[in-house]
């Protein structure tokens, strides 16, 4: 649990902070979208590490409630696909959808959508990870 509290959880929070900051920066300067994409990749990595670590803790006898812990864990994973959701507005993706209402976005609009999504997901991921850590007995 010590390693989780001192390494994995802080790493998740750092990435969440980076998502938040770069999300805001991308809304203002579209050019930051490329850097945001690296941070999105980092978010997938830290959440994957967190998931494996939490499963390991549960298997090693952590007394946390299974339903609540797995619920928060699934929530952290379910948030990830929302990062980079702007890709759904790319002309190629929209062309494959028969829905005439499907929005088609310009590259700068895709960057701004990704920026806004990064802000929302960064906050939600930090809260879910904090609750997960509290449930596991590693925080207050």
């Amino acid at each position: 649990m010590d390693a989780y509290s001192s390494v994995v959880y802080p790493a998740v929070l750092v990435v969440c902070g980076a998502l938040l900051v770069l999300g805001i920066v991308t809304l203002v300067f579209v050019g930051a979208h490329r850097v945001l994409q690296w941070v999105v990749t980092a978010a997938y990595v830290v959440v994957a590490v967190q998931a494996l670590w939490v499963v390991g803790l549960l298997l090693n006898g952590n007394p946390a409630g299974l339903v609540v812990t797995l619920g928060y864990l699934l929530a952290t994973c379910a948030l990830l696909p929302l990062l980079g959701i702007g890709r759904l507005g790319e002309p190629d993706a929209a062309a494959e959808d028969p829905d005439p209402m499907r929005p088609i976005l310009a590259p700068d609009q895709i960057a701004r959508v990704d920026g806004a999504a990064a802000i929302a997901v960064g906050i939600a991921l930090a809260v879910a990870s904090w609750r997960l850590t509290v449930v596991l007995g590693g925080g207050s």
């Binding site: 929302l82 997901v121 939600a124």
Partner: protein, 129 residues
């Protein structure tokens, strides 16, 4: 409807739907008998958030408009009742305290959604004239 606003609303409604569904599931599975009304309301709010997210994605603007209106009324009624008679709610819901437990997003989100949906509808009406 503005495509950026539309997708951002879908993202935020999805996140809120996820949070509300998780909360409702935990509340109903663990202690439904303690506060059946509050926990049922959590489940209803979760379903509403998911419905609005789907409606926004599929372009069902009337469904999104009605859903956002119901959501706003729900937040305002539950929030007000919580102040008027705190004993009415033995436990918190997503809408308790006007959504203060969720950074007031539950009260701000339907306002934002209604703004963009009504604006889009007005623009459509003007175009059809």
């Amino acid at each position: 409807m503005n495509p950026i606003a539309r997708i951002v609303l879908i993202v935020v409604y999805s996140i809120l739907g996820l949070a509300a569904a998780g909360r409702a599931t935990a509340q109903i599975v663990e202690s439904f008998a303690e506060a059946p009304l509050a926990y049922s309301l959590s489940a209803v709010s979760a379903a509403l958030y998911v419905l609005i997210a789907i409606a926004l994605w599929r372009g069902w603007e009337t469904v999104a408009l009605v859903g956002s209106s119901v959501e706003l009324v729900g937040v305002l009624v539950v929030g007000t009742l919580g102040i008027v008679d705190a004993d009415l709610w033995p436990d918190e819901t997503v809408w308790t305290g006007f959504g203060s437990g969720y950074g007031w997003v539950p009260v701000l989100l339907p306002l934002a959604a209604l703004y963009f949906l009504v604006k889009a509808r007005q623009r459509g009406a003007t175009t059809n004239l």
